[in-house]
């Protein structure tokens, strides 16, 4: 299948500058995706400024040297350095310089230095039905599912290429027919108290992602009304255990006022009934530590903590001091509010390390401890920490995380399901 570029798009792609490179990358991706044309986009969220090696820096600088500039509003996902917080990132000099150069290059292209994986809680909320090009799996799934804007999962390079070109391949979740749920995930068999536990949504998300993979599904039979942070945790966990780009929750998310609307009035292909045993298995999988007898660090904030989540952290802390370091990852949009409300200093005095602009699984922040154990309440941290940090994980609620950090030993309360 070939991509039909408009005359102006074709002329652009034939050039030598950064705009030409952007258009060629978008067009080549369109071919790989089976799209036959490009469509205009309203905004972008760029995941490409995270340092994975020098090649990403050189790519961004090639765009800058080619005179490229973003054509639409573009926020930036986390980088590899904490530019505005007080957290030490253990990157050595050559990598640190390359990471900083990369972050600078993206800002030079006109991107906003938001440096957060929760841009949707930092004022970047496209309207329902708008086509956008977002990267970062949790941001993508939130944008599609909770905001009802339309994006595919734009990876590094394609996100910035779309932002510069102002276009994206017309395919996948940009097309309304592909947003209809084919799989119904029925949770009505879970006890109502299950949803009272703050681990309910990330644990369920992790299970959901493994069950549906890259399909669009709808969760039916939810007894409680999840808040935005719960939906954020569900989506992030689902997008790390499976390639989930869009989910619906009947009666909750904008494209699913009811089950029939979510499935487009059609009979779903599959119906999966979730049992308490499946949930218990999903919860167990989030812990990789063989024994729950020590922890070396606690990490929360994947996706980045909202101001409301800091409020919950403060309530659990209740003025106590921590014996084990607790890393609270967030964006500068939240840090500014914490400082304005004079809440940063008490948190840091209690032993909380506020990690800003980045997070503990994307760059070396955690101390190097052989056989280290990281406790977390984040399904996404639990998924990525073993590979990216070398730490084994212990999964628990926010309350358990805080109690463990205070006592210096794992405290795991009995789950409600």
């Amino acid at each position: 299948m070939s991509v039909l570029l408009a005359a102006d798009e074709r002329a652009l792609a034939a050039g030598q500058d950064g705009n030409a490179m952007a258009m060629r990358i978008v067009a080549e991706s369109a071919r790989l995706l089976g799209a036959t044309r490009l469509l205009p986009i309203a905004s972008a969220h760029i995941d490409g400024a995270l340092y994975h090696g020098d090649s990403g820096t050189l790519f961004a600088e090639k765009f800058v040297a080619g005179g490229a500039r973003v054509a639409v509003r573009s926020t930036l996902n986390v980088g590899s350095l904490d530019l505005s917080g007080g957290c030490m990132v253990r990157l050595n000099k050559p990598q640190r310089d390359m990471a900083r150069r990369m972050m600078r290059a993206y800002v030079a292209l006109g991107c906003e230095p938001s440096w957060t994986c929760a841009p949707y809680q930092a004022g970047h909320r496209p309207a329902r039905g708008q086509d956008v090009a977002w990267g970062e799996s949790n941001a993508v799934v939130f944008c599609n599912s909770v905001l009802g804007a339309r994006t595919n999962r734009y990876g590094d390079f394609l996100d910035i290429a779309c932002a510069v070109a102002g276009r994206a391949p017309d395919c996948g979740l940009h097309q309304p027919d592909n947003r209809i749920a084919r799989i119904v995930v029925d949770v009505s068999g879970l006890p109502g108290r299950f949803f009272d536990d703050d681990t309910a949504w990330p644990v369920l998300g992790s299970l959901y992602g493994r069950l549906v993979g890259n399909a669009v599904g709808v969760v039916a039979g939810v007894a409680a009304k999840p808040d935005e942070d719960a939906l954020k945790a569900f989506g992030a966990a689902a997008a790390s255990s499976g390639a989930v780009g869009l989910f619906h929750i009947a009666g909750i998310t904008p494209e699913a006022p009811d089950l029939a609307t979510a499935t487009g009035g059609l009979m779903p292909d599959t119906r999966i009934v979730i049992t308490p045993a499946m949930v218990a298995d999903s919860r167990r999988r989030l812990s990789t530590a063989e024994r729950a007898d020590r922890i070396d660090a606690v990490a929360i904030g994947s996706p980045h903590l909202s101001l409301a989540e800091f409020g919950r952290l403060e309530r659990h802390l209740a003025g106590r001091r921590l014996r084990v370091p607790l890393f609270a990852c967030t964006g500068r949009h939240v840090l500014e509010a914490l400082e304005r409300e004079r809440r940063r200093a008490p948190l840091e005095a209690a032993g909380v390390t506020i990690v800003v602009d980045t997070c503990v699984v994307v760059t070396p922040i955690l101390a190097e401890i052989k056989g280290g154990v990281l406790m977390t309440n984040s399904g996404k941290f639990a998924h990525y920490a073993p590979g990216n940090t070398g730490y084994a994980t212990l999964y628990g609620s926010l309350s358990d995380c805080v109690e463990s950090a205070v006592s210096g030993r794992p405290v795991l309360s009995e789950p409600l399901c």
Partner: protein, 144 residues
């Protein structure tokens, strides 16, 4: 030499030859493969510790993060990319790493789409992938 399979070329690149590494489970390149040396670092993957560098890498499916292309680009630049990528379900995010490599002037390996039901025939063999998407088993080849 016997012709073993013919796939569709997803991204044109250098023809590749090497021992087959047939992944037994889907993989996330980000968090799953070390961009510096091309080793599988996801402890939950059945082939944890295996190196993808210089292999004809058979990937039944991919999962996870949208940063997979960065890892693949870094593998290409560092000279530790697979010799060829054989993919069951085309993953535009991953393959973009090869498109960008070409824009940067770094020669990418070829990527070919092939139904995973053909994958097991290549286990343990040395495979040559032609620029037209043909996969040949080299006689006497010893993969792993």
């Amino acid at each position: 030499m016997t012709v073993s399979a013919k796939g569709d070329v997803l991204v044109a690149g250098m023809p590749g030859r090497g021992p087959a590494l047939v992944l037994q489970a889907p993989i996330s390149f980000w968090g799953g493969v070390d961009p510096r040396d091309g080793r599988i670092i996801d402890g939950r993957h059945p082939q944890y510790g295996a190196a993808v560098a210089m292999k004809v890498l058979f990937v039944p499916a991919t999962i996870g993060s949208s940063s997979a292309s960065s890892v693949l680009l870094e593998l290409v630049r560092g000279g530790v990319a697979p010799a060829a990528l054989i993919i069951g379900e085309p993953d535009a995010i991953l393959l973009l790493g090869l498109i960008v490599a070409r824009e940067m002037g770094w020669e990418p390996p070829i990527a070919v789409r092939l139904d995973p039901e053909h994958f097991s025939a290549f286990c343990g063999r040395t495979v040559e992938v032609g620029s037209d998407g043909t996969l040949d088993i080299l006689e006497g080849g010893s993969g792993q």
